[in-house]
């Protein structure tokens, strides 16, 4: 479970990137955090990952305060970045092997890696190919396989569908649903309202570091999410 309690981040230049965020993502839930660039989505993820320190408040992963025991919380979290590049001179399996061992899964064999790669929809002939020959969609799938193989209860995704073709994006969403069904807490930052509508259990819209809207699935399906999002974005554009 992911919890943000009054989580605030003000950068050294004085910019308030996150303003007292309160959020809770339960096991078996997909939470979509929507917002314009600079709204505070990536800052939220970075705070959960302990890549930056909060100015105040707490980020809690499965009951452990990230600031108090950052290394321990790493056991309970996986991450997929916007643009998964990985190591071009390694094959998909070698990349997976490296990150699996880094995540503490040192007992896995080649077949285990193949199983995971099949699970994320990677084609068999790509398993032993160098990653530098992969398309962005294929790399994202390997990135997701890395997140899955760690088998952490919480998964953070930062714009994972950015630049993906519709088919790849749809496949990715299906994988997220499967992970949700397996009881994972999933926080996904994105601009992709369509995907949010298709898989999110809850959505939040962020603006200037604040969570300005929070809706569960029934609510945002009724309220026309696109319209709501555009209204918030328009306000942002019109701001001086």
């Amino acid at each position: 479970m992911l919890q943000a309690i009054e989580l605030t981040k003000r950068y050294e230049d004085g910019q308030l990137a996150l303003d007292a965020l309160n959020l809770e993502i339960k096991p078996g839930e997909i939470f979509f955090l929507l917002g314009a660039n600079g709204a505070g989505k990536t800052t939220t993820i970075n705070l959960f990952l302990n890549f930056i320190e909060p100015t105040s408040g707490q980020a809690i992963i499965d009951g452990i305060d990230v600031m108090k025991d950052p290394l321990e919380t790493k056991n309970y979290i996986s991450y997929v970045s916007e643009n998964v590049m990985l190591y071009g001179n390694f094959t998909a399996r070698q990349n997976l092997d490296f990150f699996a061992k880094l995540g503490g899964k040192s007992h896995l064999n080649k077949e285990d890696y193949y199983t995971i790669m099949r699970k994320v929809g990677l084609q068999e002939q790509a398993f032993e190919k160098k990653l530098k020959t992969f398309s962005k969609g294929m790399r994202q799938k390997v990135g997701l396989a890395i997140a899955i193989i760690k088998d952490a209860p919480n998964i953070l995704l930062d714009e994972p569908t950015s630049g993906l073709d519709p088919k790849s994006a749809a496949e990715l969403m299906q994988i997220l649903k499967n992970l949700r069904n397996a009881g994972k807490s999933i926080l996904m930052c994105t601009h992709d309202i369509l995907r949010a509508k298709s898989v999110a259990d809850r959505v939040g819209i962020m603006k200037e570091g604040r969570l300005v809207m929070l809706r569960d699935r029934e609510e945002f399906l009724q309220d026309d999410l696109e319209q709501l999002y555009l209204e918030y974005m328009q306000e942002t554009v019109m701001m001086p």
């Binding site: 890549f51 290394l71 996986s78 991450y79 590049m85 190591y87 390694f90 490296f98 990150f99 503490g104």
Partner: protein
Amino acid sequence: MIGLIARKDFLLNLTSARFVIGLAVCLLVIPFTLVTSVDRYKQQINVYKTASEKVETEYKAAKVYSNVRPSVIHRPEALAVFSEGVSRNMGNTVQLQYGEYPLLLSGVAGFSNPLLNAFFSLDFATVIAIVLSLFALVFSYDAFTRERENNTLKMILVNRINRSAFFIGKFLGILLTLVPMLLFCFVTGILFLLLSPDIALDGAMWTNVLLLFLSAVLYVVVFVLFGLFVSAMSKRSSTSIAVCLLCWIWLLFLVPNIAVWSAKSFVKTEQYDNMQLALDDVEEPYWKEREEKSREILKMLDIDGLSHWNYNGGSDGYLEFSGGLRKALDYHLNFSTWEVPRLIDYADKKWAVQKEYLDGLVKQERFQQRLALLSPSEIFGQLASSLCYSDPGYYLVYMERVREYRQTFIDYVRERKLYESSTWGTRMDPENFVSDERYSEMIQDYETAFQQGPEAIRQFRASLPPGWNDGNYGPLDVVGFPVFDYKPHTRTDAYNFVLARFALLMGIALVLLMLTMLRFRNYQL
């Protein structure tokens, strides 16, 4: 975790274009450099052997003590194949003199064609300093920036690994890639030494080769850490590579030249010609005293001038004669007894001037050396030349030993008062020299024989007292005279010098390690 990161980086580096290029450069440059250096060494050895044979033949052919004048021929050091240091600036010969201390080696050091000396060439240690430092930076400049740009840094740090462990892993991974390259260079170098019949290394020299390898590893470590530090200070690889290359040019090419320029500008030394003029001034009274002494002895012996049947002489106590007046022998006995100790005394006076000049050179060199310590490549260069017996310190100590040898030689001559004996200038029995009257008669007889023709001259020569004809006696036995012997590894100052440079490189490495660790702890992802 550290091992996992190191292994990953090592494998990625092995399959990278930069590794292939690096290995190719080493494959091309190192053997070529060694071929050139070994060839130069062979030429030096040939020059050394020829000069040694000539000097030994002359030394052993001496018929009188004044001609027993050893020359020291500097044997080129085999290890200079790795680092030539200042050996190119040095000659190879010192001839001992009673009237002057030897300052530095003179003569040629090797090349038969002086024009070839002007061409640019690099030795093994310089190639290591340039190539390996460049590759150390090439492998490390993007260690963090590339991972940041590819988002892999976040993907790694989302796992249970702290930043220090990640940093150490990266460092070891790069080092694991570079050490085999370095090993390749040294193995090639050692093979060249082993396959060259003219080169033989003793145990101490092999120890120095090992120390040179360890120094090279430490030198590479410094540049890897420098690259990592710049990477930890940069957000983009493009910024990092630009900074690294600028620093590399600064450290490898500008700092050494600035050090030399500063030394020449701020630490002035006396011109060599001025020093020679100053020596002439010191020596001037000697020539006056010499003239007076000569006149005094001539007056004492009541002779107007010297007459010899055969005579060879010169400055610095050189003298060889046979036949002639008994008074001439008496003159030389008296004069040598005065001249040689006087020459030795004046050498001491001249040494004060020479030493001042030498101290100036050393001061300038030390200034340059210390200023150059700002560059790790110069520290490594100093280390390498010291380990390969080609540093200025080696030559200074060598010359000290030569001067000590001169003193031992002079003491040997002085203790036995060789210059007070007739053998100093002649091997003839003193009884066979003749009186004024007899000598006048002999001159007349010779003139008569000369008019009568070759047969009469031959008969005249046959009638001369024993030893008058040049070459009637063989060389002196010089077995008991002191012999010069020098073992470079007996220098304790060299090990202190090496240790200090090693410690300095280690210190720089530790500072860079700490700074990079501190910087990377706050590295913005």
